[in-house]
């Protein structure tokens, strides 16, 4: 027993000293007189917040580049960042479950929290507009489609909301937040016009996507989405569903199957092989990979690339 007690005492002393050192050595408390900080749960919101707030204001994007917001689990440091911010913006509706858990706690701590989807009337995913009745993918009671940022007009509303929130928290600079957000709203409006014009005259309006993220986009521009898997990415489609989609693709002689960069392109490739179609990228913008960020790509440029691919697949003139 003596040996064991000595061993434990040694362990306790070593770890105790280490813990004390860390506790007093590491401090990243906000210094006084600091500027506003904003935390956003994932890329589109961080992007819009940065546009509305301007480059001087720090916007933390909690879900890091290249990570799936849906599977993301914040570390204690992330939560601390959220807590130490003035505004916390998250999407809700199941896209960022961690944020929905964290929000009540940080709100109590005095952070202004915005649940973006609560400001919009969401599309329900239980209703089945694609003519496949018996598959069970994602059609659960009360489930809503969270992918509102893929409609440029809804993004305009989002950036306006963020601008208003910034103005409310920091009234001294209200005018500049307002002008920045309306300036970006104009850029988004232009994007919207490019989409409506670019997709107005097409050979077909049917497109197959790997994951059902594009309903808002499709509704806005009158497209007919055939998703392979449900609204929440990361699901494996059943072989039955793959066969069904492949049959549809052949029937409608669809030439391109869309996949997304973060998910594995395997599902799209499988269907493409079955039908002799090719695969094309359609980015749901849930995240920006490090490469994309380094290449200076952003929401608008990727949406433009999406538009170009859509035009190619739908044979638009």
């Amino acid at each position: 027993m003596r040996k064991a007690v000595l061993f434990i005492a040694g362990l306790a002393i070593v770890s105790g000293i280490a813990i004390l050192l860390f506790t007093f050595a590491i401090k990243d408390k906000p210094e006084s007189g600091r500027k506003l900080t904003v935390a956003a749960s994932f890329y589109p919101l961080a992007h819009l917040a940065q546009k509305a707030a301007g480059q001087d204001i720090e916007v933390y994007m909690i879900t890091p580049a290249g990570a799936e917001s849906h599977d993301f689990e914040p570390t204690p440091r992330d939560i601390r960042k959220v807590r130490n911010s003035d505004i916390f913006i998250y999407n809700g509706a199941g896209l960022d479950p961690w944020a929905e858990r964290v929000a009540p706690t940080v709100e109590q701590a005095g952070v202004k929290t915005i649940e973006m989807t609560s400001h919009f009337s969401l599309m329900s995913v239980e209703k089945d507009e694609h003519g496949h009745e018996e598959d069970g993918h994602g059609h659960e009671d009360g489930a809503f489609d969270p992918h509102i940022w893929l409609d440029p007009l809804l993004s305009i509303e989002q950036v306006t909301l963020i601008g208003e929130a910034l103005a409310a928290v920091d009234p001294a600079n209200a005018a500049s937040y307002q002008s920045r957000s309306s300036q970006y709203a104009n850029e988004l409006k232009q994007l919207h016009e490019e989409f409506s014009k670019g997709l107005s005259n097409c050979g077909t309006r049917d497109l197959i996507v790997a994951h059902d993220a594009f309903s808002y986009l499709a509704k806005r521009y009158n497209l007919n989405i055939i998703p392979v898997t449900g609204v929440f990415s990361g699901e494996e489609p059943s072989p039955k569903r793959i066969a069904e989609v492949a049959r549809l693709a052949r029937e409608k002689s669809i030439r391109y199957i869309f996949f997304e960069p973060l998910a594995s392109p395997k599902i799209a490739e499988t269907i493409a092989r079955e039908t002799g179609a090719e695969v094309l990228e359609l980015n749901p913008l849930e995240s920006l990979t490090k490469e994309e960020a380094a290449a200076g790509k952003d929401y608008i440029s990727i949406m433009r690339a999406n538009l170009a691919n859509l035009r190619k697949a739908l044979q638009c003139i």
């Binding site: 040996k3 061993f7 362990l11 599977d71 489930a143 699901e235």
Partner: protein, 267 residues
């Protein structure tokens, strides 16, 4: 001045839960390890996943569903073992992989939900709620009280079931009781270290303590000390270095195990 780590509500909760778990888990673990039942913890943890999946599918409390699932499995495992037709090891293997199959199928039925499965598999200290803490506190009292009351019986049953039976101990009932306690402990502890790692926390500190060749009672006490050190320093390390908490805790306990191996080398 309060150190920054304790300013966050969820970190305080994580520490309270961690302290409770690190005292209960090695007690249960000792009874399992001496009976060569180390895999029991892992098996019950996998069964908990069935409960989590059911909880998510039916939109009820996954933790409570996990407690129910693992308790039922514990009873079934003990029953099967009592029949003496199968090796205990084979029974555990069947439950471990079988429950995983059930869980995967249920999860595939629950498609479209926000199954934040990873937080159950690997633990997520940011999600410990008031209910979890309350349940843990109840379990803590229950485990300590029952070990204090039935220490001698537990001891006898763990080392020699037949002898215990002969000396008038209701071995089967006690066995069942230990296994049920293990089931509940595993399901409640999964929020901290996760389903895939709870087995490690239940076994490693005990195996470490057994290196010192102590009495049964002292083995329990020493293994509690090891698990306390592992959980506390694991939580601190994971906080300051931004690491996954469950994995960090288990790595610390592994480091302690290696250190004790080194100092207990046979001459």
């Amino acid at each position: 001045m309060r150190p920054e780590i304790f300013e966050l509500e969820f970190m305080r909760r994580a520490f309270v839960a961690g302290l409770l778990i690190s005292i209960i888990v090695p007690i249960i673990g000792t009874f399992l390890v001496v009976r060569r039942y180390s895999l029991m913890a892992d098996t019950l943890a996998h069964v908990s996943l069935v409960g989590v999946a059911v909880g998510v599918l039916t939109k009820t409390q996954p933790v409570i569903a996990a407690v129910i699932a693992s308790t039922v499995a514990a009873v079934l495992i003990e029953r099967l073992r009592g029949l003496k037709k199968l090796f205990a090891e084979s029974i555990l293997a069947i439950f471990l992989s079988g429950s995983l199959a059930v869980a995967v199928v249920i999860i595939s039925m629950a498609k479209g939900f926000n199954v934040d499965l990873l937080s159950y598999l690997f633990g997520s200290i940011s999600t410990i709620g008031g209910v979890d803490l309350f349940l843990l506190a109840v379990l803590f009292v229950l485990v300590l009280a029952s070990v204090a009351l039935f220490y001698k019986e537990f001891f006898l049953v763990s080392f020699d079931e037949e002898f215990a039976e002969a000396s008038g101990v209701k071995a089967r009932a006690l066995n069942l009781f230990i296994v049920i306690l293990a089931a509940v402990t595993v399901s409640l502890a999964m929020r901290i270290v996760g389903i895939l790692l709870i087995g490690a926390l239940m076994v490693i500190p005990v195996v470490t303590a057994r290196q010192f060749e102590l009495s049964f009672r002292n083995t329990i006490l020493v293994s509690i000390s090891f698990s306390l050190v592992s959980v506390i320093s694991g939580l601190f390390l994971s906080y300051y270095f931004d690491l996954a908490s469950g994995g960090t805790i288990v790595l610390v306990s592994l480091a302690i195990f290696l250190a004790s191996l080194a100092i207990n080398r046979p001459e």
